[in-house]
Symmetry: C2
């Protein structure tokens, strides 16, 4: 079986690097500092530096680079902003890291069609700043200011997914470079299509293992007439979760509905100088016409009160909203700040919403048994929540404890017909769980990987 | 290249059929009448009967059937209701047709999670009747009372897709039987997941060429508090289309917005005894709370008046709405009734909405030049429209004229960055256009087909 096998840093990549240097000149580097910078993402996975880092300017260059790598059997690891959480960019077999940051052109915005085409290195904030005057926005928001290409690679989602969907729904078409250097457009710009296999969705979430995502055509959305955000504390975790479940089941098109348990509230209070009570909270956002936002808000507020929620604290102005969501998004950094020198280990299960209360309450009991501080935050409208841990990877005892906890959590979620990863991807950290979750499907995934990357040079050792 | 090659009706399938008869007893037949019934869909493509037809009861039987077929290199053609439009079920190399109609159990409805799991032979109307008391419904509505498995296979959509999405969005998970008889679950029941390659989406739209879809887990939606349908005539086609485009661009969550040109209106008037004026019309439907439906309707009505639309004729009662949409759905049969003995040839292009007016107006000119009666109907909110033709396949002159027209229409759509098929699929009729539309992607599709079906027994000769 060619996967995970013969690729090794022991292979001498000198010839490949020499050829690439001719092609890219000073946009190819073997500098230790730059290689180290590309050796890991934000997670606990141990760093592995690539042998060289390339900074291509366009898709034709990526194609030429991959052709050189294929000739020399050199692994190819695409790199966006390095903000992922499962070690997807760590060059565990060495090879060439392709840093996409110079490919940051917004190629085209089709305001009338509400879509745009961007190079993969554009970040989501850059895109939204660019779009500001068009009345449109790109909703997918994983917190970090990730690159669009990276978000495609991990099938990212985040706080807005409950209403606007994930990258699975956001991408109309991709242009990718495959393992032999071919440039492949996966679809047209039509909103829907029944034309052949859905290659777009195959590449969304493939984590660089099937090809390099170079250009992305995205659906955009009209900025709603009215946006209102609110924070609501609850007497109990169960009350907060039940409020989420009922909101979803009533079909209310809520834009964001995020849970923070009391430990998470304490973490962001400390970091962002907020004064929320130390109880479970929901952070909410409503989008629509003035009338519809008022109606949605009134319905959810009524629900919340019935379930032990307090009054909504509204954030109506843009600055207030930004502050609220910044506090939520900075959660991971807040957790790290509590333990200087620590790294993020974030669990990522997602379960059918009918099992969410049970899953979170059992997990709370489990947390209590560990004696560690483990805050829970979650995109609970989708059934997805994180136990966000700041860990010291060099402490084997702590890592064992956390690993055992994560294993129990994933087993719990799988028994509830959920998944081990709602949005972070498999990367290095969840390969064994993917086999457990989809024991027959894994064989098809391997067949596809081998068919599209017979040399196993595309981000080898990840996902499968 | 193994695709489209050595499989032939000349191979003697006697041994396979004898083995299958032992397995299925009277649920395997070689009766000519039943084979003929399974030789074609509703389209103009010439019939090709399979050598035998199987009626399995469950997924284990499908697995055993496919294993026998694989052993004998016998093509496997899944069959739902035979209501497709591109010859996807025609057994052009003979083989075994697997009729899924006996697999019509609704396995489970998870009302709290708003999802359900059904066997592939359940039809969409059966499912919605079953769901009636749950407050939930399954929105995807291609007109025909197709089977859920068939809808998965063709990535079906229809009138509701503008709001609720297509089968791409509707399917949470599949259980399929692959070419070696393996039973593969593609995903869990979680609403979102980043766990490995998106096999679910790979099988949605694969038209039976990668495996047999046996069980389907579908997202359901809450039946809206308020539903209102209306019909609105327009002075000009341009006015009607512009009204659609502006509605979409304003972000109004309209549930249905269908265009019928004056020729289409004449066709349904004659068939369904309606009295609409012979002008272009929009058929519309609004879903939401009472308040939100009123607001949406008022906004669209205002738009329509500005663009040469008349007053809305409302259909508020369920019976009136049913009558209205039945007339729309029966369009194809109405067109056939005008030319007894004719067959359907429906074009299916889908373009970015900014090009829709141009595309339809150019097509109208083209229609005028042919001298034939060619009504236009369309799911115009998605940019998808059909020129619905009733043709006599045995008239070579007419077929040539229609084929040339279709070619010009598809070229026009592709030049506008659209697709040759929005929802009918590639089947037999659009293989050359798929190559034209996605010239590089086709190579990846072939690699995937060969990897997952190395013997080329799964619905051979379709799509690729």
């Amino acid at each position: 079986m060619p996967i995970n096998s013969e690729v090794s840093t022991k292979i001498n990549f000198r010839d490949a690097i020499a050829e690439l240097a001719l092609l890219l000149e000073d946009r190819l580097t073997t500098s230790k500092a730059i290689r180290d910078h590309h050796s890991q993402d934000e997670s606990f996975h141990p760093p592995s530096a690539p042998d060289a880092v390339a900074f291509p300017n366009d898709i034709e260059e990526v194609s030429q680079i991959v052709k050189v790598c294929a000739k020399h059997m050199m692994p190819v690891i695409p790199f966006g902003t390095g903000t992922a959480l499962e070690g997807g960019v760590n060059a565990i077999y060495g090879g060439l890291c392709i840093d996409m940051s110079a490919m940051n052109n917004i190629i085209r915005v089709n305001a009338q069609d509400m879509d745009c085409t961007v190079q993969a290195g554009v970040t989501r904030r850059e895109l939204n700043e660019y779009l500001r005057d068009t009345g449109l926005f790109f909703p997918v928001d994983p917190g970090a200011n990730a690159s669009i290409g990276g978000m495609v690679a991990t099938r990212a989602s985040g706080t807005n997914a409950v209403r606007y969907g994930t990258m699975r729904e956001a991408v109309l078409s991709l242009t990718v470079v495959t393992s032999d250097g071919s440039i492949v457009k996966t679809s047209t710009r039509a909103r829907k299509s029944a034309a052949g296999y859905d290659l777009t969705r195959l590449f969304v979430g493939s984590e660089g293992t099937l090809g390099v995502v170079c250009e992305v055509t995205l659906k955009l959305h009209a900025i709603p007439e009215s946006i209102a955000a609110a924070v609501c504390g609850f007497d109990s975790l169960q009350g907060a979760i039940d409020c989420v479940i009922e909101t979803i089941q009533m079909g209310i098109p809520i834009a964001r509905i995020e849970l923070l348990d009391e430990a998470a509230i304490k973490t962001i209070n400390d970091h962002s100088d907020l004064g929320y009570a130390h109880t479970p909270h929901l952070f909410l956002e409503f989008h629509g016409t003035d009338l519809s936002v008022k109606e949605q808000a009134a319905t959810v507020q009524e629900l919340a009160v019935e379930l032990g929620g307090n009054d909504f604290q509204w954030a109506l102005k843009t600055e207030e909203r930004t502050k609220l969501w910044r506090a939520r998004h900075d959660f991971a950094y807040a957790a790290l700040a509590q333990r200087p020198g620590s790294k993020i280990l974030s669990t990522d299960v997602c379960v059918p919403i009918s099992r969410l209360t049970e899953c979170i309450l059992q997990t709370k009991q489990d947390i209590a048994s560990t004696g560690m501080n483990m805050p829970i935050i979650g995109h609970v409208g989708d059934g997805n929540f994180h136990v966000a841990l700041s860990v010291f990877p060099e402490d084997p005892q702590e890592m064992q404890l956390v690993d055992d906890f994560n294993k129990r959590l994933i087993n719990r979620a799988l028994q509830m017909e959920g998944t081990c990863t709602g949005e972070h991807g498999i990367g290095l950290g969840k390969k064994e769980y993917l086999v457990q979750e989809l024991p027959q499907a894994i064989n098809l995934m391997k067949l596809i990987k081998t068919a599209l990357d017979p040399l196993n040079i595309m981000n080898p050792g990840k996902v499968l």
